[in-house]
């Protein structure tokens, strides 16, 4: 069953250099309980996609000019500010890269989780404080009763991120948007945090949008993957299919560019150049200046989504 569907979403920002089209008509959906990886390099639009779903794009300078975001049957773009407040942290939760910025330094972790619980009144919780302790326990914080009285600076980096997760999941959302949740963490702690998210997801049956630049993390934790490039979605497929049989030249390049820890590699795939500017993006396919397989049509016409079957979708003229 589809939980969230994004249709033809266009987002633009007014910047000093001019109008930047940071999302140029993206489409994807996510099913109940599923983990979708939203992967791409900096500036591809993966974080603003997450923020758009929660209507957290500052307007102005940002503006969603076209498209729909259908969540549990309702278009979030038509909701009032008040209705969105109930949805945020209630049915849809989001965690960010740096928990130190998201947590309030002058309130205890427990108070901050309690605030979320009081606001959204999730079912099945006997008292607010029990909910707090249970939430901290569920993210494997040892001694949750006393740890709840700690301030964020008394937590280590990995504990803070788990504290954030506890706060977000205390209200049992049906969708968690995790924006680079482990990027600031060491590899041993990253493994712990990803495990906590996966365990809770199973327990609560929630869907997760995992926004990351790390294709290793995607391969380990996602069911499906959407590869983004310069405000467009290049390819969407099941995780196995995407890694085994990538179709878009950008996906192929990215996968070949990762130096792997599990095998020796003689050469890395090289994608020449760098990510384009949003104010003056390349015409046609935005990837064409860096694409080794670019054809004449790629310079003129924007590729449409081609369904290769079994939910494998690619936006590339090679398949059109």
């Amino acid at each position: 069953m589809t939980l969230l569907e994004i249709k033809n979403l266009h987002l633009q920002f007014q910047s000093d250099e001019g109008l930047a089209l940071v999302l140029d008509g993206i489409n994807f959906d996510i099913k109940k309980g599923e983990t979708l990886g939203l992967v791409g390099e900096s500036g591809c639009g993966k974080s603003v996609t997450g923020l758009s779903v929660l209507r957290l794009i500052p307007t102005p300078p940002g503006e969603i000019t076209e498209g729909e975001i259908i969540f549990e049957g309702e278009n979030l773009l038509e909701k009032s500010a008040k209705e969105m407040q109930n949805i945020r942290g209630g049915r849809i939760a989001m965690i960010f890269q740096d928990p130190m910025v998201s947590l309030n330094p002058v309130y205890t972790i427990g108070d901050q989780i309690a605030e979320a619980i009081d606001l959204h009144q999730p079912k099945g919780i006997t008292s607010t404080w029990d909910g707090v302790v249970e939430a901290l326990d569920s993210v494997q914080i040892a001694d949750p009763e006393s740890r709840a009285h700690n301030y964020p600076h008394q937590f280590s980096g990995g504990m803070r991120q788990r504290g954030m997760i506890a706060m977000m999941l205390s209200c049992r959302p049906s969708l968690l948007i995790a924006d680079e949740p482990t990027t600031a963490l060491d590899v041993t702690v990253q493994a712990q945090v990803l495990q906590v998210i996966a365990d809770l997801q199973k327990e609560l049956g929630m869907a997760v949008i995992l926004i990351t630049h790390n294709l290793g993390v995607v391969a380990e934790s996602c069911d499906r993957v959407a590869v983004m490039y310069a405000g467009t979605i290049a390819e969407i497929a099941d995780v196995e299919k995407l890694f085994e049989n990538p179709k878009h030249p950008y996906t192929r390049g990215l996968l070949g560019a990762i130096p792997r820890a599990d095998r020796d590699m003689n050469d890395l795939a090289i994608i020449e150049g760098s990510v384009p500017n949003h104010v003056n993006p390349p015409k046609g396919c935005r990837f064409h200046p860096r694409c080794k397989e670019a054809m004449d049509i790629c310079r003129i016409e924007k590729p449409t989504d081609v369904d290769l079957g079994e939910d494998h979708i690619v936006a590339c003229h090679l398949y059109g």
């Binding site: 390099e41 990995g158 041993t188 391969a219 130096p259 599990d262 090289i270």
Partner: protein
């Protein structure tokens, strides 16, 4: 051996401020030894706070060492007088992680890349220009880039400028401190490929500091694993990746995310907790608080580095 490091120690004194009046000693690097052959690349890998960057900076005397020896081409670097050290600096250079911090924002590329030549008194103005232009070409930049300022470049190009500046004096040894950590994966691949090409063209010797085991495997011929200021394992690349001996190395290799969903269900040796503070490191083996195979003596006796076979050393009581 071009590089011999013996029993290197670096302590920092912290505190003595309004908020923390007591002074404490942090043993950032606590007695480590390694060699690098001319033309080889040693990878120094570890989590944040392990001391890997301090090793690189102390070798170049950007920090003064607390004790130990660094023999560079039969000269004892730590006992050189300032004038002698300055002369040697043309032969040893460093590339830092963040080019935004290491490049001067108000100097043109020409001015900053030629600066080491000026300081070292190599050639004169007329030769500098040609040397800089040649070097820019070597690192994949255009001659017209020479007149521009750092903010006009992308992250990858800025790192190329840093590399050009490090190589302009024709050094034999280059310390690379997380040179691609701030870069996107497609740009990282370009820079890694460049560093490999430069190494073989110019017969450079590298100390490559990184937290990324994939990058280390791609770039290095030997690997040293650091944990809280100590080396725990030191081996040739094939030996370390095929047969890791230290429980810490074994865990790192088992949990590093691999971009292949088919390997998702492999065995992982998860570690509990996070790296302790170097202000107050555990007694005995510093890893014992997180070690899955901890024994009684690990808690009190510090293990010594021991050669298990040719080209493979480990500091762990399991191998005594």
């Amino acid at each position: 051996m071009l590089i011999k490091v013996k029993n290197l120690r670096k302590e920092f004194s912290v505190g003595g401020t309004l908020f923390q009046t007591e002074r404490e000693t942090v043993k950032a690097v606590d007695g480590i030894s390694f060699d690098i052959k001319s033309g080889a690349a040693l990878g120094l890998v570890g989590e944040s706070g392990s001391g890997k960057t301090t090793v690189a900076k102390t070798m170049l005397r950007l920090h003064e060492p607390t004790s130990g020896e660094f023999i560079f081409d039969e000269q004892s670097v730590f006992s050189l007088l300032p004038a002698e050290l300055r002369k040697l600096r043309r032969r040893m250079q460093i590339v830092h992680q963040n080019p935004n911090a290491s490049l001067h924002p108000r100097m043109t590329v020409m001015a900053q890349v030629s600066r080491p030549l000026k300081i070292q008194g190599i050639g004169d103005k007329s030769t500098h220009e040609k040397q800089v232009l040649d070097m820019l070409q070597r690192v994949g930049l255009n001659p017209e880039h020479a007149r521009r300022y750092p903010h006009e470049f992308s992250g990858g190009q800025k790192q190329r400028i840093s590399i050009a500046r490090a190589l302009i004096t024709n050094p034999e040894f280059v310390a690379l401190d997380e040179p691609t950590s701030a870069l996107d994966v497609s740009v990282q691949a370009q820079v890694l490929q460049l560093l490999r090409r430069l190494q073989s063209e110019l017969n450079l010797t590298y100390l490559f500091v990184s937290h990324d085991l994939g990058v280390i495997r791609y770039m290095c011929s030997e690997v040293a694993v650091m944990y809280l200021g100590n080396l725990v394992e030191y081996a040739t690349k094939p030996k370390l990746f095929a047969n890791p001996l230290h429980p810490y190395t074994q865990s790192l290799l088992s949990i590093v995310p691999i971009p292949d969903p088919k390997l998702r269900h492999r065995d992982r040796k998860m570690l509990k907790g996070e790296i302790p503070s170097p202000k107050n490191p555990p007694k005995g083996c510093r890893f014992h608080t997180r070690c899955p195979q901890v024994m009684e003596k690990c808690k009190s006796i510090e293990p010594k580095m021991k050669q298990i076979e040719e080209g493979h050393q480990v500091a762990c009581h399991l191998y005594e």
